[in-house]
């Protein structure tokens, strides 16, 4: 197993994203952790709850803000073997969004299912 070849047992890491992009830097700096963390060959999942779903929306154009649009980076996660992206169904709905509005394929899950996913983790990094 990949995990054991890295010299240890893989832990289940969950990154919980609950903030909208650009109003604060948490989303961007959280993604920086995910990218670095990918090299450690752990069992990684990302959860997008509440306003966190806004990080994934299509059509972001940050020229007017003079900041970097980091949403395309989510598309690169696959190259890092980070493929488990869970999005809260109710959060999408409350915000008038659907999976088709997001820049990457995700698994849209109920609050109940998301709670189960959270319970199964060893390490939860929340930003």
């Amino acid at each position: 197993m990949t995990e054991e070849s890295a010299g240890g047992i893989a832990k289940k890491f969950l990154y919980v994203n609950r903030r909208a992009p650009y109003g604060s830097i948490y989303g961007l700096e959280s993604l920086e952790v995910v990218l670095i963390g990918a090299a450690f060959e752990q069992d990684v999942s990302l959860a997008f709850l509440g306003d966190g779903v806004f990080q994934l929306t299509k059509g972001q154009d940050t020229k007017g803000l003079e900041v970097k649009n980091f949403s395309p980076t989510f598309r690169a996660l696959e190259d890092y073997d980070v493929t488990k992206l869970y999005v809260e169904k109710e959060a999408l709905e409350a915000r008038g969004l659907s999976a088709a509005d997001l820049v990457v394929p995700v698994e849209v899950v109920s609050a109940q299912r998301m709670a189960e996913i959270m319970e199964a983790q060893d390490v939860i990094l929340s930003f």
Binding site: G59, T62, G64, G96
Partner: protein, 99 residues
């Protein structure tokens, strides 16, 4: 009077509080994460539409675009750029920032 709101209406009560204190004829400018309140078909859209009956609501265009919302802004909310923000401040006697 001009009110600015910079918080997402889905996570904070800043917009709700602002609308409680914004009087007839006041202007509300949504900036930063506050612009999410300008989107159609959300859980807070009805509240914003109701408010439009008594106050003018603006949203800061660069913030709207950064968040990919340019095609989802509800009717009645007017977009302004930073220059328009400046004009709104000039036109009103004072500014209350709902941080």
């Amino acid at each position: 009077m001009l009110h600015t709101v910079n918080k997402s209406p889905f996570e904070h009560r800043a917009l709700e509080t602002c609308l409680k204190f914004a009087r007839q004829g006041a202007a509300v400018l949504l900036i930063e994460d506050g612009v999410y309140a300008a989107a159609r078909d959300t859980a807070v859209a009805e509240q914003v539409q109701e408010a439009l009956k008594t106050v003018s609501i603006y949203a800061l265009k660069p913030d709207v675009e950064a968040r990919g919302m340019q095609n989802r802004v509800m009717d009645g909310v007017r977009l302004v750029d930073y220059g328009g923000f400046v004009d709104l401040v000039v036109e009103h006697n004072a500014v209350q920032s709902w941080l």
